[in-house]
Structures are given as C-alpha cells and as structure tokens.
Amino acid sequence: MFELNRKTIILSIALLALVLLPPLSIALDESYVISSMSRVLIFAMAAISLDLIVGYGAMISFGHAAFVGLGAYTAAILGFHFHEDIAMFSFPFEFSGSNQLLISLLLAMLVAAVVAAITGMICLRTHGIHFIMITLAFAQMLYYLFISLDYYGGEDGLVMLARNELPWVDLADDSQFYYLCLLFLVAYLVLSLRLVNSQFGRVVRGCKINEQRMQALGFNTYWYRLVAYVIAATGAALAGALLANKTEFVDPGLFSWHLSGELLVMVILGGMGSIYGAVIGAIVYLLLEQIFAAYTEHWMFFLGPVLILVVIRARHGIYGLLQKWWTANV
C-alpha cells in the first residue's frame, strides 16, 4: 500500500504542476510556455496511443504519424471548407466543412478508424519487422499522396484560418486551449489504463507474448489485434486534430517517418507498455530538444548521446527507473 502511495503522491504532484502551469507562467511572464506545453500534451496523447499497440500488442508501427496526420488534415480540411464556404461534397447532402471542435474530432477519429481498419487488415498479416515496414509503407504512401494534393496545399501545407469552436470555451485563448488539451490527455490516459487492464487489454497483451498459444486457447487474435490497431489509430487522430488546432496549420510532414520515428522514440524513452511512460517520454523528449536547442544550434550532438545513455542505463525507460525508485525505497 505504501508503494502505491508514493506513486500516487508523485502522480498528483505532476498533475498539480500541469494544472498550475498556465497561471504560473503568466505570472512569470513566460506565457509562451503554455502554448508549447499544449503541444507536448498533444504529443503525449499520440505517444500513449502508440504505446497501446507497441507496448501491449507488439505491433511496432513505424507509420503511426500517418494517423496523426489524417486527424490533423481532417480538422484542417473541414475548417478550410467552412471558411472558404466550398462544398466538400454535395451528395447525398451538401456538406461544406465545419469549425466545431467536436465534429472535427469525431470525424478525425472516424477517418483514421476507417483507414486503420483497411490498412490494418493487410498489415496485420505480417509480424515483427515486416509489420514495421508495411506500416511505414502505408504512411509513406499517404505522405506522397498529401504532397501532391495541390488542392489542399500539397507540401506547402494548409493554413487553418482559426481554431475550431467549442461551446463555452474560447479555444483561441492559449490557457483555455491548454486546459482542454490537459483534460483530453487525462481522460485519454485514464481510458487507456482501463483499456489495458480490461479483458480486451489482457487478450492483446497475450497476443504480444505468445500469439500461437492465444489461438490455441480459442482467441481470434487477428480481430483483437485489428481492433487494438484501430483504437490506437483513433487516439492518434484525436491528437492530430488537436494539433492542427494548436498550430492552425497542417502539412504533409505530419505523415513523415521522422514523426513516426519520434513518436516511437518517445514511447521507448518513457518506457514501453506502461502508458504513463508514453507521457513521460513525450514530455522529456520534447523538452530536452527545446532546452538543448535553446543553448546550442548543435543540439543534436548532445541529445543523441543522452538518448543512448538512457537506453543503456534504464532497461524499461524512464518510467522503469521511476518504478524502481519508488519500489526500492520502501
């Protein structure tokens, strides 16, 4: 019980710090921190969604950014049609976009789910490194597709004229937007924790450890893995749609393997298969990058070795270290 307490205390402190961040940074006249932390929170969500399949399902996706991109583009395209008042389609009914956040988010998740279901059906036939590569392949295809989509800006990207709208909330206000992201992150975190500890979660974990045995026990592993894959994709799309609102801009770089790689790095750095780890990984990675970059333009020269050191020293990422620490000191 004491262990649990220690953990709870740390988590509460972390949450409190996140809640207090906007007033503090305004007081310290560093208000840009709010906005850049919103980005961190959004990436943390994306990282959690990746951890759901990488850490629990052994589906190492090297194309997860594609779903972030799809979510972001969905929001941006909806906004684009709304502001330019051009119909997206006119059959069976006319629809010319939307700037309602909830609609954007829902549609973003839907789009990602559909794409994930279709590509997933193919990807999940493969395992291990082949899965890594085939997810990469689909993401690259989307990348090149969006690069040549002149109508939506191609490689130049697409500007969102304004953030989406949500009743009672002013998303244009950075603090309010930040709290919205925080809310989403916490909700998503709780949801994910429930998910991995649910019946479904255990099945997915079983598939990771020994798929053959799972089948012999009577599980249709293919479907469970596919559903997990789709769920993860919707999480990424959610993050993507928020990200589009955050930056008010989307570009095909969101689909690139660099971003997929970075998401993976966040998950591994934080500690795979722990959900919290993904959040920690995202925060640490993005902050390290920012901090080093602020001191030297050769920031990669320092960030690289730090990452290496963490891998060698910490077996289960930063969360693993923390866990060791809060169980060791009992």
């Binding site: 649910s198 019946q199 255990r202 079983g206 053959q212 799972m214 089948q215 012999a216 599980f219 592993t221």
Partner: protein
C-alpha cells in the same frame, strides 16, 4: 459402443518431399485416452498440429462430432472444444500463473471485446484459475511470473491451461516431458482422473505413463499408423517393438 468424437480421413502432410503424415486414419472415441506413440520424427506433433488447425493438411479431412472441420482456423476449433498442449512449453512468460490460467478461462467465456472493467478483479475467472492451479499443485506459485518458473513447473502449467476451457478433446503433446519422476506420477494420476470426462489424445514417450493410462494405442512410424490396439496388443506387437519400444528395459540395463 462409444461414439467417435474426432476422426481423420486419409490425412496427409508433406514438407517439400518429406512425408510427415501419410493417409492417417485416426479415431478418438468419446471418453477414451488414446495414446499416439512412435519414434522421433514419426509425425505425431504434425498430426496434432493438423488436428488443432495450426497446420493445413496437404490432403485428407478431419471430422469433429461428425462435422468436417478441415478448414476451420485454430481458434474456432479451440472454441468448439479442442484444446491442445505444446511439446515445448508455450505459456505467457510475462504473466503470473494465475493470469495465465485466467486468460485460458477467459477464452471460453464469450467474446473479450470488453474494454472497461478491470480484469484482475474478475471474480469468476480468477476463481476458476485458482481451482486449476490447485488441481495441479501450483497454488503456491500462482503469483509467480511464468517466465520465472522452473522447467517442470512450466510443463505443469502448460497442461493446466488446456483444461481451462472445459474442452471435449485434449490433444496433449508430451505432457510428461521434463516433469520429474515424482511429478510424472502425479500427472499420470491426474490424467487418470480425467478419464471419461474428456477424450484425450496423448502423445508421450514415457511408456510407464502410456501403458498405465491408455485405453487404446496407435503407433505411428514414418507418418503411417502401423498398429492400433489395446496396451497388451501393442506391447506384444513385434513390429512395434522393433520400430519403437526396442528390447525390454531389463535387457537394456543388463547391457549397460
């Protein structure tokens, strides 16, 4: 006359020129313990893999309760009541024994697309899992990770997991392998207790166990069944002795 639960019709499997199973006609009766023995590489595991659905036969068909299930996938067969154990322990190393067993129980309780409630607190799964652990004398270890078990303990867990779904047919691939002499005796007793409740196809090289358990024995050599019969018939069959049993144990020791 007891009915046939599982039978195969001219089942064949070949790997690039190698005939692992050839025209296998195997019948498993309800409630019997049917031992499948034969030299190494005779095709016993191959037969089990085909029955459980992991391997697609090159030709031939498989019937379960008179229903052709040759093309059903593994998980469907498992849910119909065909459970198997693996020759090489194949458990969930990163889960505790209890979780291993609970997962096996879960497999047979409808679908698992339940995303919300905490599985570790699932009473009925845990109870059934615990009962299984007890049955196999693993209750003391139930919170140990399966990966940290000794070899023999893993073998016990392996067999325990097959019982979880209350199957009709057990396909056991060398359950005794790696279990010490004392343990083998226990497991033999345990399997004996299952007689009548399940139909068991037992692949085993431990002849003490086979002879004391089997109702019937089939002998597989080079992919073909050369004899099927009662324990005594098989023991006395010269072809079986020559291909598999060898000289009696006593003479072997004398030679040594």
């Amino acid at each position: 006359m007891s009915e046939i639960v599982l039978h195969t019709d001219k089942l064949c499997k070949s790997y690039a020129g190698l005939r692992a199973n050839h025209n296998l006609d195997l019948q498993l009766l309800r409630g019997e313990i049917h031992a499948l023995i034969g030299p190494n590489g005779a095709g016993k595991s191959t037969a089990i893999a085909q029955l459980s659905g992991e391997l697609a036969p090159s030709s031939g068909r498989i019937f379960f309760n008179e229903r052709d299930m040759t093309s059903l996938p593994v998980h469907k067969r498992a849910r119909m009541g065909i459970a198997r154990s693996f020759q090489v322990s194949s458990v969930f190393d990163e889960m505790t024994i209890l979780q291993n067993l609970a997962l096996a129980v879960q497999a047979h309780h409808g679908h698992s697309f339940r995303f919300w409630s905490n599985i570790n607190r699932h009473r009925s799964f845990n109870q059934q899992a615990h009962a299984l652990a007890e049955q196999f004398g693993l209750e003391q270890l139930q919170d140990v990770l399966a990966g940290e078990l000794g070899h023999g303990e893993k073998r016990q867990l392996e067999v325990a997991m097959t019982l979880a779904g209350d199957p009709q047919v057990l396909l056991l691939d060398e359950p005794m392998a790696g279990i010490g002499p004392g343990g083998s005796k226990n497991l033999t007793r345990l399997l004996d207790g299952l007689r009548g409740r399940y139909s068991i196809l037992l692949v085993e090289h431990d002849m003490d166990a086979v002879f004391s358990l089997a109702d019937r024995i089939s002998v597989l050599v080079y992919g073909e069944i050369i004899a099927t019969g009662s324990v005594q018939e098989i023991r006395d069959n010269p072809a079986v002795q020559q291909a598999y049993l060898g000289e009696s144990e006593e003479s072997a020791h004398a030679q040594a």
